[in-house]
């Protein structure tokens, strides 16, 4: 998929002097090459619209995603993280997506403990043909991050 550059949307509020940057959450999508990555690719081919502030990290299988990777993303300023794996029963490595499900649940608890909030992280099951599933996942996480507000650790890092 073409890398999309993150451009903050500018909204003019009040007069010309008052240009406020609308909060565009930075979403990290940790996705499996066999399913969600293909779906994201298809979404691009179909010209489906979704927030350009999503950064894709391609994994050979969601079973490779460590809780440490997820927390690192938040530490470095991600506003939300989505993990996209194959539908249950269709993992190329049989149960990598089930392992990811367990790890995501654990990572949500760890995030909750830090005060950042476990809802900033979610697991999605998106098949290779489900381009709309990918777009919905990105929109869902963007909405959640907008509700929860920015991850200030990201702001500190600019």
């Amino acid at each position: 998929m073409e890398q999309q550059t993150a451009q903050p949307e500018m909204t003019v509020i009040g007069g010309v002097d008052e240009i406020v940057e609308e909060f565009q959450p930075k979403i990290e999508a940790m996705i499996c090459t066999y399913c969600t990555y293909a779906a994201a690719d298809l979404a691009g081919s179909q010209r489906l619209q979704y927030p350009p502030t999503v950064k894709i990290v391609k994994y050979p299988c969601t079973g490779r995603i460590s809780v440490a990777h997820i927390l690192k993303a938040f530490e470095l300023g991600a506003d939300a993280v989505l993990v996209g794996g194959c539908e249950v029963g269709t993992c190329h490595f049989i149960e990598g997506n089930l392992r990811a499900t367990e790890r995501v649940a654990y990572a949500k608890k760890l995030l909750e403990e830090t005060g950042l909030g476990g809802d900033r992280l979610e697991m999605f099951y998106i098949s290779a043909s489900d381009s709309h599933g990918f777009v919905n996942a990105v929109n869902e996480m963007t909405d959640r991050a907008k509700k929860m507000g920015p991850n200030f650790l990201g702001q500190a890092r600019g």
């Binding site: 460590s66 809780v67 440490a68 927390l71 938040f74 530490e75 403990e113 830090t114 650790l153």
Partner: protein, 231 residues
């Protein structure tokens, strides 16, 4: 191996609160295998602390390190060559209680705090689950008990069993578990070695468990025992 579990996050956070430079040291042996204090767990705890303390506006520096075995002085000395230990305000050890204490002995100018609770000596039963198998009693009887430890597996720690509370192979203390002595009986029977069970094991010598215990290797005794001369 020694099995440990991570302390609740709030407890660890309280232990390090007020400190600015924090070093988290994992251990590459037992606690790595039981997913409590290895490289990944060090990374996870470091991230969690950076996020939590960062959100509170604390300007902290959290570094990560891992040593092969925290219960070996040599590895801790090596750690001191890689990290400037006096630079840190607090050191968080992710080893078992033994590792924490040795780290504290070697770098005694700085507070060393534990991030784990050490729970038992055990085995891996499956991914993510461990079970106690030995209480390091100092006088192993497994040779007489079909390799099943009655001190650990029997809630009463009976050396001669079963007791009269054993019911249909279950334990009277906890019917959820199998009676250790029935298991011992069955295993010895299967091996054709049943006469062993009629052997009465002598009472445990609890004096052996004087704490803190010390174990010395025969070949090295002269180094540690007074008046033991080699030449």
């Amino acid at each position: 191996m020694i099995v440990a579990t991570r302390k609740p996050f709030t407890e660890i956070k309280d232990l390090v609160s007020g400190h600015r430079k924090i070093l988290i040291v994992g251990c590459g042996t037992c606690v790595s295998v039981c997913l409590a204090g290895g490289e990944i767990e060090v990374s996870i705890l470091a991230s969690q602390l950076r996020i939590a303390l960062g959100l509170e506006g604390d300007d902290v520096q959290i570094d990560e390190a891992i040593v092969e075995r925290q219960c070996n002085r040599e590895f801790l000395v090596l750690l001191g060559k890689k990290k400037n230990m006096t630079d840190y305000d607090v050191i968080v050890s992710m080893a078992c209680g033994a590792g924490v204490q040795l780290l504290g002995d070697v770098y005694d100018q700085k507070p060393v705090v534990p991030a784990l609770n050490t729970v038992f000596i055990g085995i891996e039963e499956g991914p993510g689950i461990w079970a106690e198998r030995c209480q390091s009693c100092g006088n192993c009887v497994l040779g007489e008990t079909g390799d099943i430890c009655p001190i650990t597996m029997c809630p009463k720690g009976l050396l001669n069993g079963p007791c009269s509370g054993s019911r249909h192979g279950r334990c009277e203390v906890n019917p959820e578990i199998e009676c250790a002595w029935v298991k011992i009986y069955d295993r010895l029977a299967a091996r054709g070695d049943l006469e062993r069970i009629s052997k009465v094991l002598p009472p445990r010598k609890n004096s052996r468990r004087a704490h803190p215990a010390v174990a010395t290797h025969e070949a090295y005794k002269r180094r540690f025992v007074k008046d033991e001369k080699i030449v």
